[in-house]
Subunit: 363 residues, 2 copies
């Protein structure tokens, strides 16, 4: 039984502007507490579970080069460049069809590229349980135990136990309002949907055929074209992405599927969704500051300072804070953001302003 | 009667770090409310009073090139490069000797290069009164009416009126403590010494001879050497600056001189001594922000944002603030400072820290 991994790296979040940009989205940044970019960490976390030649990274065509640069140990054909961003269903369908072509009963692990997981051994344990369940032909997902009534994530309600550590999924629910989120937290049977799915390739293809028949037809067209020539295959991919609707796999497949399993996963998961979270996870000094080595501070506490300027040979750089508290200071070569930590979600307003002003080079 | 101007441009303040640097001191920066650098403004303000060929700019040797670049309409011999920084007395002595050599009865106006004066016509009026007084052989100074008990400046106490708008100076006093400064303010007969002096060249040379005979001997050695060759003159200048003590003209000459006149000058003077003052003087928007055109702000007020990054062709730059109040954000290509306006004097602590850490490239 071969285990494959599909790393979803098409994200283009604006919550980390100016660190994240159109051509340098979150997953390419070193926002986590560990060395290196989030996508490197995501790939690295799977190294005990699947062989490098079974890793596929799907990203936008415009991000292919930058993504490949960070993962030089992966072969060129490990990278799928989506011609258009059409959410996760078309992309997962495409990747799964490619895997199933050669190995229909292969296990596929789908994970986002821009999350943080603190407990590697718990993560591997949860994946192994999920792989066992998936081998039986059940789409399996890791469920993250909520610790707060979060309204930013989808939830999965679990039912009866299927096996040790594996539960039946009763339903997938989309982002709730606060009241509903509170009731989910109180019920204790709801888990966060972190977008991590484990399934057999043929199981998933069958679900595409059942729930998204048009998309499935496109996938079969790709398969038929691939049997003729790589050029025809590329045309078929282009045709599918050009015409297909933008649909998430959660909405298009999971919510319509009645044989899903959940492995509750207490793995120290974080979606790393804001500068605030990046600060919380990072190694803070005694004053609660997260500073680059070159920074200098006086009477300052609780700050997150990121410096992503291009280094200039022979020209040292610094960032100096005096009397600054609980701020995010995000410096790139062409942009600077200063924002209180507690307002860091409002960086979107800056991005909207820049868009409205037609200042696309800064996005 | 020729009027000459000596612009003192040897300053190397640290209060504007990282805008000001060892090789880019305050006077070379556009910190004032008007276009262009402070030194350009200082030279420009004198254009109705003295001809360009009678302007002399004295600065440190290491600043000569940068200073000349800002004042391309001045001849090369208008610039004096001090081999060592020895405060104002040696430098004024050197410049005055050069002027006196050709024109002993020339009037010399000495002004700092890094101040701001709002009321040009009042300034010209005060200078004309001072020139008249100086022509009589009296060292004359502009006195700035204090509007607060400032402890950062020296004061001049005035006595009886000598002429319309011209008073006898009773004494020069150095920076007072707060209590004394308050008594000066209450007395109404004390003016700030803004370092603007007007005198006949021969009058001043006679004062050097009387109060600073060693320095005077050095000046005469320069004169004798100049009569032989420019190379010898340069050697004599080097020898004088290498050996002379670091003394201000206030301490070395003014405080010891008993024939000084004061022209009270209500000219909208500011020493532009801090980011706070730069913010006060600058054109603020409705929210009290002083921002570069390219900046974007949301819910931010009372901020001073300076961007002195080198422009990169084809690469726009921005600075974005969200929810920031009463801050100074000073951005250069290699350094960033974030500091509350009310603490802006404490930038010195950063400079001290960088010095202590041996990070001289950032100074």
């Amino acid at each position: 039984m071969n285990v494959h991994a599909l790393i979803l790296a098409g994200g283009s979040g604006t919550r980390f502007w100016p660190a994240s940009r159109r051509l340098r989205p979150k997953q390419l940044l070193a926002l986590g507490p560990t060395e290196g970019s989030l996508i490197e960490a995501a790939v690295g976390r799977l190294s005990a579970i699947c062989r490098p030649e079974h890793v596929v990274v799907a990203t936008g065509k415009h991000l292919l080069a930058a993504t490949q640069r960070l993962l030089p140990h992966l072969a060129e054909d490990a990278f799928l460049g989506e011609p258009y961003a059409k959410n996760t269903a078309p992309c997962i369908g495409w990747a799964v069809e490619r895997i199933a072509r050669r190995d229909p009963s292969a296990i596929v692990i789908v994970v986002p590229s821009d999350q943080y997981i603190a407990d590697q051994s718990a993560y591997e344990g949860a994946l192994r349980l999920a792989i066992e369940a998936a081998a039986q032909g059940v789409i399996t997902t890791l469920g993250i135990k909520p610790d707060r009534p979060e309204t930013g994530y989808g939830y999965i309600e679990v039912g009866q136990a299927l096996n040790h550590g594996v539960f039946q999924a009763k339903r997938f629910v989309e982002k709730p309002n606060l009241e509903t989120a509170k009731s989910y937290l109180a019920a204790g049977t709801f888990y966060w949907n972190a977008g991590m799915f484990i399934f057999r390739a043929d199981t998933m293809l069958a679900e595409f055929e059942r729930s998204m028949p048009e998309l499935y037809a496109g996938l079969m067209a790709i398969r038929a074209a691939a049997a003729q020539s790589p050029a025809l295959e590329e045309q078929a991919v282009e045709a599918l992405f050009a015409s297909t609707a933008s649909v998430s796999v959660d909405y298009g497949i999971m919510e319509k599927c009645d044989k899903i399993a959940v492995v509750p996963a207490d793995v120290g998961w974080s979606d790393l969704g804001s500068f605030q979270v990046a600060w919380e996870l990072a190694a803070q000094d005694a004053a609660g500051n997260v500073l680059p080595d070159h920074a200098v501070q006086v009477d300052s506490a609780g700050n997150l300072v990121l410096d992503l300027r291009d280094p200039v040979p022979g020209r040292p750089q610094t960032i100096a804070l005096v009397g600054i508290h609980n701020m995010c200071v995000i410096q790139t070569s062409d942009a600077l953001l200063v924002i209180p930590r507690e307002r860091c979600q409002d960086v979107r307003e800056i991005v909207e302003r820049l868009k409205a002003d037609g200042r696309h080079e800064l996005l």
